[in-house]
Symmetry: C2
Subunit: 156 residues, 2 copies
DNA sequence: TGACGAAAGTTTGATGTCAAACTAAAAGGT
DNA sequence: ACCTTTTAGTTTGACATCAAACTTTCGTCA
């Protein structure tokens, strides 16, 4: 195994490749997050909007633990997010009738409305994107990103 | 041109596509950041290591303003990062002889050493990555990500 | 049925980041 | 030369997040 005269890719080069990848991803996350944050109404954060959106698209009644897993944040973070949303009146958190440890998260009408308003506010932001970054490219790299995300998620 | 009876992609679908893209990117950034953070030595944060790494690869003597632009963070954030690194003895911040407003950031020997140690600590983390996410894929999507990052950067 | 490990949520303390207001210095225009 | 605008850096207050410790409840197994 130490016999490796013709290595196709040096470990340090591969490291640099992945490093660059995560660097770009980190900066994109930061820039897009800031951008969305700025246009979101009602003082909603990106995380809060994400949760409202999630509940609209996939249905509500989720437990905080499952939401935390879905968004890849700690349970403590989810507790915080839910408390903020409940304070704004956008969700309702009921005790789980079957499990006294657990809770269930439901959207309120105001929450659905806030999600609609957020989408409307986000649209102009997204609309100017295709000019610089065509949807084809987005669709092309999306499966790879999913794969990477899933791997990072399962192997930690 | 307005004749477009068979629209290939509805605006709302395109929105969903970009939305999913940023969502995946956000989660990957979070997961990889946490992962790196955990193995970094000396209480270094990802941002702090990034700065050390930057100075090694591209040379030091940068001003804080240029560093803030390079990392896409606010000047206040960069002030904070630099103060932490200076407190650890990893960088030296000198006044700019030509511009009394400005400063210059230099690596100390301890800083170079910390960067080396960080790379060593990061390697095992990166080494297990190719199994789930081959380098070819990384190399394939990297140009697109760069393009997206650059667009987000210039158009804000 | 009783005990112990696992799971759900919360709390605590620390940290990194942002936006915005502020000071100081340079640049530019008239 | 003076006044205005821009630029560099810091500070402040707020916030999202994390890790870790803690409480309560469930589930399992002996």
């Amino acid at each position: 195994m130490p016999q490796k005269t013709a290595r196709p890719t040096q470990p340090t080069e591969i490291g640099a490749l992945y490093f660059q990848l995560f660097n770009e991803i980190g900066i994109i996350a930061q820039l897009s997050g800031n951008r969305f944050q700025r246009v979101l109404p009602q003082g909603l954060t990106v995380a809060q909007f994400g949760l409202l959106n999630h509940c609209v698209r996939l249905g509500d009644g989720w437990t905080p633990a499952r939401l935390a897993a879905a968004f890849q944040v700690t349970k403590g973070t989810m507790t915080n997010t839910l408390q903020k949303l409940e304070a704004k009146g956008f969700i309702r958190v009921d005790p789980d009738p079957d499990d006294a440890r657990s809770k269930r998260v439901f959207l309120t009408p105001a929450g659905k409305q806030a999600r609609e308003a957020s989408l409307k506010a986000l649209m102009p932001e997204l609309a100017q994107l295709p000019a610089g970054f065509p949807p084809d490219l987005a669709a092309e790299i999306l499966p790879s990103l999913e794969r990477l995300r899933i791997w990072l998620d399962t192997n930690r």
